[in-house]
Symmetry: C2
Subunit: 314 residues, 2 copies
């Protein structure tokens, strides 16, 4: 059986993967993008984007990502809805195995598989997913009209979730384990001046309790060690990102949290495999950073591919 | 005399500097942007942008950069039209001296001063600037209606200049010293199939000659060593970028071409001084890459500033 050999397989169609696709098509590489869900990535869980340069008014992530997708499609992006399961090295070729048993043979790979929300690890968390526990206020806020809810976290996402929830909920408790927030100051200011928001610092969620639905949370005060019950019907968890790297574990070098380590040119420890965007061990998880990395990953991959083909620029 | 001390001075208001300004204002840093010309940067010399992710239809650089500027202004960007001359280290503070004798005292600096077109170094080049020699087809193409012109270079800019010039000129000679082009394939294809474009490989410009205006170019064929005269009335030079780093030479570590060397977090060898965008020794000169770096430079600068102020997140 012979497979077609692609120049490049891009795994993931979020901001990094779609930008990689735009640049790959402009470079006339024979590329395919593999996405297990829908194009757009993790940013689709956000309510709006205010800091993507060149878009002065707030835009919904859905709209911005549709534009990137259209831009890639106009250039002839080939997109397939499959989930990568494993990458096999076969000399100069790499074979991407997928959950659907479809295989892709390629010269180079760009990992742009992004992240998903981290679990908190509290008692009751898994039990109540979909019954009060949520990882996406954008998706679930309307279910909590006039109710009391909690957001756990202190970064940009937690603050954005909080500021979205106040439009529905009666009250939002923002719980953070540290004594200050990490989010952009502009978001902190908005939260501080909203009378519906109550911030509880230096506390962690121990238990999420309830009968069939969430009824409240047991918080531990990290200074006094005391446990306090906070009644609420929703718990929104924004405590960080977990990289989608299970399918390359053991092949590509990861940091201890599972993010892909790369060199400056975004190549991993495996020549021909590159990584970009949130899945990479980088210093800032932002759409525009992921896009910039997507462009660079293609430039590096293209150099590699041209070298293998003996047509490098010199 | 006491000066106000800024948190951050951003030098340059191109894509990197404007993005840095957006992120700095969102972080509520007390920042000022210094620009010697007008906001927008070197990209304003281009005809159009097709590969900025999220902008599916071609857009003029002027329009895209106006949007970034408006976005920064909406957040309260402070922009001053001055040219930085020198940075003086004064303990924890840095003092930016300018050509206008105005000084700015600050805790941190982001260098986003970009590049300008490199000179070719050919005989006659300087003599005929503005009289046939140009570094910007977008600006000057209309002067060459129905005439014969030359473009020198093989990268994206050279090809974009060529593809813009064919709309005015009768014929465009594209001269490149190598045997292949470096530009995106999509641009190469467009040039190859345009009957007005003639590509001359493995040749360099030795002399640009004429009386009061350019009348032609003497090319040297690098394989045969022969000199050939090509009559033309315009010469558009796109042979690379020269970083605007004269004002930091001797203070900040530069590579041999004058680009700023940084660590992964975009800090230079001088703590508190960061660099981003085209002025940096990076691997790809693209608007979206510069923007991504602008965002990261602020995140790193903010960490530094908060540490100096004793208010770092921990």
């Amino acid at each position: 059986m012979t497979h077609k050999t692609y120049d490049l397989v891009i795994i993931g169609a979020g901001p990094a993967g779609l930008t990689a696709s735009i640049y790959a098509r402009r470079a006339r590489l024979d590329a395919v993008v593999l996405e297990r869900l829908v194009p757009g990535g993790q940013i689709l869980l956000s309510q709006r984007i205010e800091n993507y340069p060149g878009v002065p008014l707030p835009i919904s992530p859905k709209r911005l990502m549709e534009k990137m997708q259209r831009q890639a499609e106009n250039l002839g992006m080939k997109l397939e809805q499959v989930e990568a399961k494993r990458i096999e090295l076969d000399g100069e070729k790499k074979i991407i195995h997928t959950l659907s048993d479809k295989k892709y043979t390629t010269l180079a790979v760009i990992i742009a598989s992004g992240t998903e929300p981290s679990k908190l690890g509290a008692e009751g968390e898994t039990t109540f997913v979909g019954r009060g526990v949520s990882y996406c206020a954008t998706c679930d806020a309307p279910f909590f009209k006039d109710q009391e809810v909690m957001v756990v976290g202190g970064g940009n996402t937690a603050l954005q979730e909080t500021l979205h929830l106040v439009r529905f909920a009666r009250k939002v408790h923002l719980v953070h384990r540290r004594g200050m927030l990490r989010a952009e100051k502009i978001l902190q200011e908005r939260a501080f001046r909203n009378p519906k928001v109550e911030i509880i610092f230096r506390s962690v969620v121990k238990v999420i309790y309830g009968d069939s639905q969430v009824e409240g949370v047991k918080l531990k005060d990290l200074e006094t060690g005391k446990i306090k019950k906070v009644p609420c019907s929703g718990v929104f968890i924004s405590v960080g990102l977990k990289p989608n790297t299970d399918f390359i574990r053991g092949l590509v070098e990861l940091d201890k949290k599972g993010f892909v380590k790369t060199r400056a040119n975004l190549e991993t420890n495996v020549p021909s495999i590159f990584a970009c965007g949130d899945v990479r061990k980088n210093l800032l998880k932002q759409v525009v950073v992921a896009c910039g990395e997507g462009a660079l990953a293609v430039a590096s991959a293209e150099k590699y591919i041209n070298k293998v083909k003996g047509i490098e620029y010199k």
